[in-house]
Symmetry: C2
Subunit: 249 residues, 2 copies
């Protein structure tokens, strides 16, 4: 539901943007069940705003694929089947490979230095986490920060690609898996944060390949990297036991 009070910023963001983010979060968080009917006025009431910005948010989400139209007058939450999520993982792998390939060609030295700096931050965080864990203190918050740093790294790599469309495509793909992945990755890393170290090593190699302009190697590393992470997630005991994908044919 995302606390709807934001007194710090009176109007820095449009209501439509807030509605878009709220509904998107509600869907990915499962608060709005798949196939649940959605109405402009209902959401407007729920978000305490007029139907106009809600309508805009609905159309954007529809373009994202999170909302589907079953009839001329009926809009429901899209049902992203488990098989689709499985497929999306493969799409994301390929997109990240593409991004790495482009980044190897277009990255500037400053950007590459930034990547290394981000990895240094991650390195420090890992040390802190290990220390705290050795002392038996909670590490959840730091692991979350680490995940944020990893995300920043990935975003920075995407920025290196210098192709806005490519970034947008990746973003649209991630919309479907973001929430679920986040929680499951958190569990995974908490259970065995050696995982984080492995990822980290791959990232260092990636930056090295980018710096050398070796697009083929960069692509391979990125794809292997993401694939490994997604495989881990797939094998992880999901909170909601999803049945194996049953595709047609």
């Amino acid at each position: 539901m995302t606390a709807d009070e934001d007194p710090r910023e009176p109007q820095l963001e449009t209501l439509a943007g807030r509605a878009y983010r709220s509904v998107q979060e509600a869907i990915t968080a499962g608060e709005l069940a798949p196939n649940e009917k959605i109405t402009e006025r209902g959401l407007a009431e729920r978000l305490s705003m007029s139907p106009t910005p809600v309508r805009e948010a609905i159309r954007r989400l529809e373009q994202d694929g999170l909302i589907k139209r079953t009839g001329p007058r009926t809009v429901v939450v899209a049902d992203i089947g488990a098989s689709a999520v499985e497929d999306l993982a493969e799409v994301e792998i390929a997109l990240r490979g593409l991004i790495a390939r482009f980044a190897a060609r277009h990255a500037t030295p400053a950007q590459l230095d930034g990547l290394d700096a981000t990895l240094d931050e991650a390195d420090d965080l890992l040390i802190v986490i290990k220390q705290r864990e050795a002392e038996g203190r909670p590490v959840v918050k730091h692991v979350n920060t680490l995940l944020d740093t990893m995300q920043r790294f990935n975003d920075a790599v995407a920025a290196c690609a210098g192709n806005a469309v490519l970034v947008r495509l990746l973003e649209q793909t991630r919309v479907f898996t973001r929430a679920e992945r986040r929680t499951r990755m958190l569990e995974r890393v908490l259970a065995n944060h050696q995982y984080g170290l492995d990822r980290y090593a791959g990232h260092r190699d990636l930056v090295r390949a980018l710096r050398a302009g070796d697009s083929a190697t960069a692509e391979q590393i990125a794809m292997h990297d993401v694939r490994g992470g997604l495989d881990d997630l797939r094998r992880a005991p999901g909170p909601a036991g999803v049945e194996p994908t049953t595709t047609n044919r």
Copy 2:
């Protein structure tokens, strides 16, 4: 005002959809120059409708990347540089390869039969074109129909992938190059329609791979196919440096 001057279709399509398509076409056709300022009310006047549906169209185009915001109150046509188009071609190649890979796994026999049927149509069209050309009669219209058929084939392959997100990604990629490609491909095929025959052969191989469920081969064929087409377009003798379409700014 706006007396219903369109009695043929009272409300078969929403005004917002029409605005979206119109503005998109205007941008890709070059009628709206890059960095040209856009206003809701201006477009509304031009399209003879209220600003509300225009606003929706603008937001969708913004999400597509065809329209960019330079300030909180300023919206301009995005400037898609030539290098970006070059990059987009590579993105499209990869996406089509992905689609073929997915299609090899998910295509149903009925869908595959449909693909063959579409290729049969293309085959007939090619025969007609050769006949007409041998007789010295114009073939532009038939070549256009052939291109439509090819597009239908590609759309059908995308449908076989059974992944709506993937289709959407490809669609969004093609938005930037659709108009230009269409005209240049038409010139190319007209200059040497043996090109069409080559493509045709590749498509048959692709369907064969799909039917065999050979995802790796399907991906290779699709990528090679698209890459070849795009390379041809790149080498096309179009007026170097200037857009082939008349810049009626």
